[in-house]
Amino acid sequence: MSNETDYDIQARKRFFRITEEDSERVRTLRAFADANLEDVVASFYGHLMDHPATLKILGDDETIARLRRTQSAYFREMLDGVYDDEYMAVRLRIGRTHHRIGLGPEWYIGAYLAYVDEVMKRLMPDEKSDQMRSLLKVIFLDMSFAIDTYVGALVGQMQGLEQLFTTEISGFSHKLNDSINRIVSVAAELASTTSQQAATASQLATTTVEVRQSALESRDVAEGVMAKTEEAVAASGQGLEAVDQALKAMTAMQEQVALIEDRMGALEERMQEVGEIIDSVNEIADQSKLLALNAAIEAARAGSHGRGFAVVAGEIRNLADQSRTATRRVRQLLEEIHTSARAAIAATQDGAARADEGSALAQRAGATIEALTTVVAASTDGARRIAESSRQQGTAVAEIADAMAGIEAGTAQTASALRETEDAARGLAEVAQAMNDFINTFRGDDESRGVSGGVR
């Protein structure tokens, strides 16, 4: 009951049967006090100084003189006959002071008995008073014993609570230490991890920038490829058109070659006919020459009469020779024409063969260009997809870069928070250590209190 509000001064006064008559009766003792109080107080302190336990509490002479003055005031307040809350508060403060200076209840009651004994000895100096004084001594002794019991029970209860408190606090302190140590360790690990994370995030941010740059370059390249492939598609279309025209030209050339072959065949037939005619002319010329020769022979045999005939025969022979020479020239020309015609036919046939090869090559080229067009179209589509993908990739990488910047900032904040956590944990560790020290101190006080309190 340490709180003053817990006291009900009226209930206490009723139980102690303190009435107004008692208060009035006590006030009548002021005159007695004025006459005897100094002696009573002197006797009181003399009694206290006779015992080592109380003498140790009283201290030096100066303190005893100060206490004697306050003791007188204390006694006079008792005689005022006013026992209200203020009175109670003063008395409780004095009790706390006694407790603080180590004046236990047994000495207090004993001291109060000395007070009562001195007052009664002066106020009622007779045999009955002596009996009463002796009885009061015994009563006060019993009270001291009873109060000791109460105080011992309270002290035991307090010690149990202290034991429980120190045990719980100690366990809590150990757990707190463990937790703090774990927090410090985890915070250190987290700080290290966060530092690595920050470095990794920084590297990742750099890499992300490079990837974004690479994605942009890929997009540019893909767009360039797309443009080139579109040009290739257009060129392939032109190539197909050119191949188609080439095929048509080849076909026309093949028809022309076939026509030339036919005409060359007809020409050769005509040349053969001309050759046959030449043979006939040659035959005629030979026959004419033969006739002319025989005519010349006949003319020679005719002597001078055949001279004119010989001249005619000679002219005929000359004509035959000229015919022969002309036909030889014609045959030579025919042979040259024939040779040229054959060369032309061979060249035409070679041209036709080459035209066939060219046509086949053109068809293959056309097929190749068509296949190439398909491939190029697929490449264009692929390049378009790559460009689109690169564009999306660039956007995504930019978002990743932003996110990485956020992560980096968050990591920095986390590191800062971890440092603060570490500092706080170290502060908690210091608090826990202080608590341990305090608990140890508390245990030490326990022992000393048990000795000084005399509660055994």
Binding site: A296, I297, A300, R301, G314
Partner: protein
């Protein structure tokens, strides 16, 4: 036609007589060449030129009766190689003689046969030719004397000029050497 009184190599003569004959001949040629415009129509002969086995020959047209072309001959077994065969012309069978064989020249029969038909003391004969090239009017004095040949009778060689050998058809078969070349 200029003709020496006798052929100097046709028959054996004494050297002195030969020298005299040559001198006489040379004198006569000198006289003829020294006489302006002495060359008359009577001295000009028409020669038929022909080839056989790459050699060129000529014969006087006055010795020929006809010129024919045939495509084949009738081969006569057991005769001299000079006679390549016979041919029937105008109902007469005429032997065809090959100058290539007589002159020791190897030659096959041409695909078209020219036959120069004439006559000597033994009758009709024909010379085989690859071709008849021309008819020319020649003066005998402008031809050089032909050298001695072991395969042709000297009387059959009237002269030579520009790789053309002028033959006398009537004297070809006068020597056995013609058939035994």
């Amino acid at each position: 036609m200029v003709e020496s009184p006798h052929e100097p190599w046709s028959k054996p003569v004494a050297p002195s007589d030969r020298r005299d004959a040559v001198a006489t001949l040379l004198q006569r040629r000198a006289d003829r060449y020294g006489r302006p415009n002495a060359r008359g129509d009577a001295e000009v002969e028409s020669l038929v030129h022909f080839t056989r086995a790459g050699s060129s020959f000529a014969v006087s047209i006055s010795e020929l009766t006809t010129i024919r072309r045939v495509s084949s001959l009738t081969i006569i077994p057991g005769v001299s190689g000079v006679v390549r065969g016979v041919v029937s012309i105008g109902g007469r069978v005429i032997g065809v003689h090959d100058l290539a064989f007589a002159m020791g020249l190897a030659a096959d029969l041409p695909p078209e046969l020219w036959l120069l038909v004439g006559a000597d003391a033994c009758g009709d004969m024909a010379l085989l030719a690859d071709s008849v090239t021309q008819v020319s009017a020649e003066a005998g004095e402008s031809w050089d004397p032909a050298p001695v040949s072991s395969s042709l009778p000297a009387a059959a060689l009237r002269g030579v000029r520009q790789r053309v050998l002028w033959l006398r058809l009537a004297s070809l078969r006068a020597s056995p050497a013609f058939f035994c070349a």
